[in-house]
Symmetry: C2
Subunit: 230 residues, 2 copies
Amino acid sequence: MVAYTSEHPPIFVTVDLVILTLREGMFAVLLVERGGEPFRGRWALPGGFVHVDEDLVDAAYRELEEETGVGGDAVHLEQLATYGAPGRDPRSRVVSTAYLAVGADLPEVRGGSDAADARWWPVEEALGLDLAFDHRTILGDGVERARSKLEYTDLALRFVPARFTMPELQGVYEAVWGTALDPRNFARKVTRTEGFVRETGEERRGARGRPARLLEAAGARTLMPPMMRE
Amino acid sequence: MVAYTSEHPPIFVTVDLVILTLREGMFAVLLVERGGEPFRGRWALPGGFVHVDEDLVDAAYRELEEETGVGGDAVHLEQLATYGAPGRDPRSRVVSTAYLAVGADLPEVRGGSDAADARWWPVEEALGLDLAFDHRTILGDGVERARSKLEYTDLALRFVPARFTMPELQGVYEAVWGTALDPRNFARKVTRTEGFVRETGEERRGARGRPARLLEAAGARTLMPPMMRE
DNA sequence: GGAATAGTGTCTCTGAGACATTATCTG
DNA sequence: CAGATAATGTCTCAGAGACACTATTCC
């Protein structure tokens, strides 16, 4: 490694966020409509520049809070990948580190500091949009990461509140994977996977039908054996 | 996203490489001894600055070739993660995207353009070194990525030549995972995993003992069902 | 023929997948 | 009591893990 000289010109660094949640049982992602050039009027992932003295993950938390109003504790955040092709931003060389955020029932949003509009999109619809920059690729990678992490980690629990029911948890898997699962096999699998969920002893009453028992996380971060995607 | 102003100062971007191979059956990583400050005399991952008009992955290929003399085709390269804590480089703000490289029996190396020395280290030893920057973290992440990708992808085949024997393949798993495997169960598993390996019809003779049949890759990139790490 | 290395079969157990009925609540 | 929703058990099949001997070569 050599000393810094003009041979190694600086590069702009941004973070972009793939923020996933379940809204009314639908797998959804937050997109913002661009208010300025380039790509004015096109939908994009929320994101922004990294400050000079700011860690990448802190920049991601800051953008997350700015866009959703939700603080870091309530939301799972993990690095996805870094996208750095020259020309991905027509203005200048910009390298972007993408983060995946997952939260339970994140709030409705409208507008933003520097965006014309912002709203939740059903993930399948969002994947069909012609997004700004290389955000279609990033979104696809984020969705795939979430889908595969449902298999072998407790990521599904980030899509539901601290207390949840077995049918709600099954709904997470069904919405994110886009498949139907058998409730008998699902419940058996969840129950027998050591440390995944635990009974709270309480029930959720008041709705139609038989009351559902409330569960909570039991602490395991990785699932052995994993859940099977079909 | 706003326009570029002095509010968003540029940042230096580098790539670092975790280059893994098997040398005489030992799981090994390439480290370079730093010839300049900071961290002069400490061991580090090979890496360097990204050029202004160079894609990140191209910078990684370039560094790989500079350090090992091996071109891209022979080596598997994938992005690992990006490390961007302020202060990780004492000189200025540097964000580094790390890549994982895996090749079969990569050549001996000595010295380098900008390094005092370079050599292959047994991975376990390297993990015990006090590496420069945050390279201990990066190395740990790279090794864990390789270990887990042996389970569900054909990454093991990148550690061996195009034609290889069943005991050689088993040796990859044993060296990288650091565990002993049962040859009967191993061969059954490999053989029954659709598209993993195929017989070439040839044998390797000339060594002591019964000749080993030569196998080759059969094309599958992901293994279903996965190999099991103990 | 001896040393070295490659190659293989069986049994048991665990977990996945297919499948329909009963239980408990609200209105 | 009707409608809605939650909860659960059995059978079959596939794959993992434990385990020891035979086959083929070189010297």
